[in-house]
Symmetry: none
Subunit: 298 residues, 2 copies
């Protein structure tokens, strides 16, 4: 699977018959779109008959025409998903710098596809203080659920992070109702336990917001709102950066829905924090001329 089907075709072009070669060249000239339509269209564009297309597919090693199409589609999908589709340029070593660039591109792609209306709808949901918010994540994405919960808890009441083992999750279910919202983070490889809880919640009439990858977690089928993000990076792991930006966008949105409430609550809770290292103001010496970090919440 490492080499493109196009290369494969070029190599095996010799072993083709005359008309099959016409089919092959037509496909290469219009790669891969021509192979995604019907056999008849392909045949017409190549100026040959339908069976020739089938025979061509067979010669390329595909038992069926549908198999060839699947191959083309997955190839195209990979190419479009991972912005690796850069030209053969990039003189710099593809080591560490690439990663950040691609993570950025992922975020850009993610938001280019996300309709604002969908984000706004979710923000409205999360800003409604009459609804209890439950947040839940998977093996890795649980960190995002925590992150988001930590912020939301400051902005409004009734925020619950569903933590612990699956066995305990059921306990949260008894409190969920029709007016409540469950925010689930689930990217591949999807966890069946998350799906189980989501389905149970859905049956209780809970509104479900799903933040997932572009292949869509199976939870999508019970979710009210689905926010898909790009996660592919040149690493065995997926990147949750785009998910985090989605979370932060939502947080920012909720903060902005009711600025008064946000301001009040933020400053109220400020008192209870022990942040803001006191040593910073008194103890330390010069600390150079670097300006102190301005408080963005001012």
């Amino acid at each position: 699977m490492t080499k493109s089907l196009a290369e494969d075709i070029r190599e095996r072009l010799e072993s083709c018959t005359a008309t099959e070669r016409r089919a092959a060249l037509a496909l290469l000239a219009n790669y891969p779109v021509l192979g995604l339509g019907t056999v008849a269209q392909f045949a017409a564009a190549a100026g040959v008959s339908s069976p020739t297309i089938l025979r061509f597919a067979a010669r390329m090693g595909f038992p069926t025409y549908a198999a060839l199409q699947t191959r083309l589609r997955t190839e195209l999908e990979d190419q479009l998903k991972s912005p690796l589709a850069k030209g053969p340029e990039s003189p710099a070593e593809p080591g560490v710098l690439d990663f950040a660039d691609i993570a950025c591109a992922n975020i850009g792609d993610t938001f280019r596809q996300l309709p604002n209306t969908e984000l706004e709808a979710v923000v409205a949901l999360l800003g409604d203080e009459r609804r209890t918010l439950y947040l839940l994540g998977g093996r890795f994405t649980d960190a995002l659920a925590r992150y988001m919960a930590a912020h939301l808890r400051i902005l409004r009441g009734r925020v619950v992070h569903v933590a612990g083992q699956e066995g305990n999750w059921r306990d949260y279910l008894v409190d969920m109702g029709r007016k409540d919202v469950l925010i689930v983070f689930d990217i591949r490889r999807y966890q069946s336990d998350l799906a189980r809880l989501s389905v149970a919640a859905a049956n209780l009439g809970v509104t479900i917001v799903l933040v997932t990858d572009s292949w869509l977690s199976p939870i999508a089928s019970v979710a009210t709102h689905v926010l898909p993000a790009r996660v592919s990076v040149p690493s065995p792991w997926d990147s949750s950066a785009a998910l985090m930006v989605i979370a932060e966008t939502l947080i920012a949105g909720v903060t902005a829905t009711d600025p008064e409430r946000s301001k009040r609550r933020i400053s109220m809770l400020e008192v209870y924090r022990d942040d803001d290292d006191p040593k910073r103001r008194s103890g330390r010496q010069g600390e150079t001329t670097e300006e102190a970090p301005p408080d963005p919440q001012a």
Copy 2:
């Protein structure tokens, strides 16, 4: 015909019903490949039924599903033919989009400032299995510490996430030694408790890696390695996206240092997971030949 179908979909999304929206979002998340297969595949991927896909197509103004496919294909064809035909970069209102753009820019800036040598040094540190790794974060950044710990714990042994109240932290200190590493996430407003622990660890000879914002947490003065990130966004809150990408870069780096070990450990621990929703493979009906989300760890 000048504007992409994707935009069209985003616009007319509001006039869609709930399940139709799911179909639309699935298509956008997997644009345009998902629309090039059969209706059944589309439906399965979106978690809805086939007729919903048809109705969705109809609502978008296509008399037939084939018409939608043709539209997608010609669009894709044009795009592939002229490399300049980049996405129209939707000039959407600067409300929500700004946030993502600026977060991206932050990541770019962050890595432009970060010397590769520093990253590599930290990667080498984290890859050394003789050292015990302690991870620690603040009010919000603790999520990142968890996220990173979850990954590192798979890649190597001796990974400890310092959790709980400050009082308990001291318990971790007794085990720390000269060979160990403490990774601290601390952005403004800096928490004095993190600083206290860090100073104590530093006195024990622990190597300290600090991931902070560009104003540098006071912990910087006791840290061996400092990785500063851009965090400012148009919101009362800071963005941890750049921190997350740093964390992921480190994780990817550690994974790559000893690929054999990584592969072995990942596949070993794989067995104990209950991820990978079985329904995805068997349960669902037709599912036809639709590829399951490829496992990036394969």
